[in-house]
Amino acid sequence: MTKIGILALQGAVREHAFSVETSGAEAVIVKRVEQLEDIDGLILPGGESTTMRRLIDRYDFLEPLKAFGQSGKPIFGTCAGLILLAKEIDGQDHAHLQLMDIKVARNAFGRQRDSFEADIHLNGIGEEFNAVFIRAPYILEVGNGVEILASYKDKIVAAQQDHYLTSAFHPELTDDHRLTEHFVKMVKDAKKELASS
């Protein structure tokens, strides 16, 4: 069975695990570097990106996570996960994994009182997707090869670059599993491809 890890240093892990299982893959809670060897794809969940980065550094996760992505295995980052994936973060000298060619702004929609939910259109995935934005970031710029999957009020809120998928909102907080299903399919396709190459 296809195994999808959820990086469980901090954040909304259980919800992603449920969504992954509902979408037809096995969910694995990842707390140690060596667990990356046993999974076919990885989700970087929502939470606090500063907390996650601190724990990533503490447990020497940074290079193994980069290598995981560079080996061709898919990664899906939501909210804080989007910030971890970005090549550039507005107003900061240092970014994190830098796997996706995107520039992002943190807490760009405002503080918690400005957090909201809205129906958005996800290109190639579906209409009327209920997206939950919590102190959410958005994408300011994308490089060549990055496909914009969704915008909200002209701000880019979901994108895909080859085997990397990202959203500023939280698909795991609703019962609509279409985006997770899309990711599960990406992982299954990549697994086949990596097995045959």
Partner: protein
């Protein structure tokens, strides 16, 4: 159409804090230490609970200057406390843009009967509880996050353990009740039936439940996680210890890896003295913050 202040948005914010540590801070400098150590949020206060205890008198919402200073210092969410039932303190905090309000028994209650109707607010609230009835009453009033009360400012984990065990045990209990028994449970515990039914069917609370009130060491934090907490609040424990920086980091790591005993052992080495702590039997009824609200 976009909607702010929905249950999903308010409860979801707390979901993002899971597995994390929320630290009490009284100024920008402490807030930065907390953020650097990996706190998922900070609670801006005028005094930490142990100092509130020592000072006596009436404890109120912090001077907004302190809260603003903390909000400007860090990028992680900032929480702040309002007195129980003090609608205006809560509105002031909401207007300032605080990310979460703690309607807290650590401050002197403004209303000894009613809690705030938290559904009226866009900003989410966290409230304390000692048992499932109290937890469900707060959810009924619109709390989007809970924390077991423990006994704040004591550095003594015993009350936090009691409350977390009680909540978890009562959840397991109602899962096994028939519907007629559930109605009597609702009556006896003063808890809304429909919410209890939802908890019975799902086997868990509909909101995140952190532990609070007495966590003073990395092992304390890990203990609360093992008992079923979604995360921990550490009040006086960090900045009343000898080495706050090291202490804060150790508590963050112990919360993430709460079943890695070798690691927790390592984290506990040479931390310096933890806060002194208070034995429960030495507290008078008036000293017990947990009993200030029901």
């Amino acid at each position: 159409m976009s909607k702010t202040g929905t249950d999903r948005v308010k409860r979801g914010m707390a979901e993002m804090q899971k597995g994390g540590v929320i630290m009490d801070v009284v100024n920008a400098e402490q807030a930065k230490i907390a953020e650097e150590a990996g706190a998922v949020a900070v609670m801006a206060l005028e005094r930490v609970p142990s100092d509130i205890r020592a000072a006596g008198g009436v404890a109120r919402m912090a001077d907004p200057t302190i809260t603003e200073e903390v909000m400007n210092a860090v990028s992680i969410p900032v929480m702040a406390k309002a007195r129980i039932g003090h609608i205006v303190e809560a509105r002031v905090l909401e207007a300032m843009g605080v990310d979460y309000i703690d309607e807290s028994e650590v401050l002197t209650p403004a209303d000894d009967i009613y809690h705030i109707n938290k559904r009226d607010f866009t900003v989410p609230f966290v409230c304390g509880c000692r048992d499932l009835g109290e937890a469900v009453r707060r959810i009924g009033e619109g709390a989007s996050m809970l924390r077991t009360k423990g006994e704040p400012g004591t550095g003594n984990i015993v009350e936090a353990v009691r409350h977390m065990r009680q909540v978890q045990s009562q959840i397991r209990q109602i899962v096994g009740l028939s519907l007629d028994e559930l109605m009597v449970f609702a009556k006896e515990n003063g808890a809304p039936y429909e919410l209890l039914l939802q908890i019975k069917n799902e086997g868990r609370l509909p909101v995140v439940n952190f532990a609070a009130g007495g966590i003073a060491t990395p092992s304390d934090a890990a203990l609360m996680m093992q008992l079923g907490a979604d995360g921990v609040f550490v009040g006086s424990g960090i900045f009343k210890s000898d080495n706050p920086q090291k202490f804060a980091r150790a508590i963050v790591e112990a919360t993430t890896h709460y079943e890695d005993y070798k690691l927790i052992g390592e984290l506990s080495k040479n931390l310096g003295t933890a806060m002194k702590g208070i034995e429960m039997s030495t507290l008078t009824p008036a000293d017990r913050m947990q009993d200030r609200s029901r």
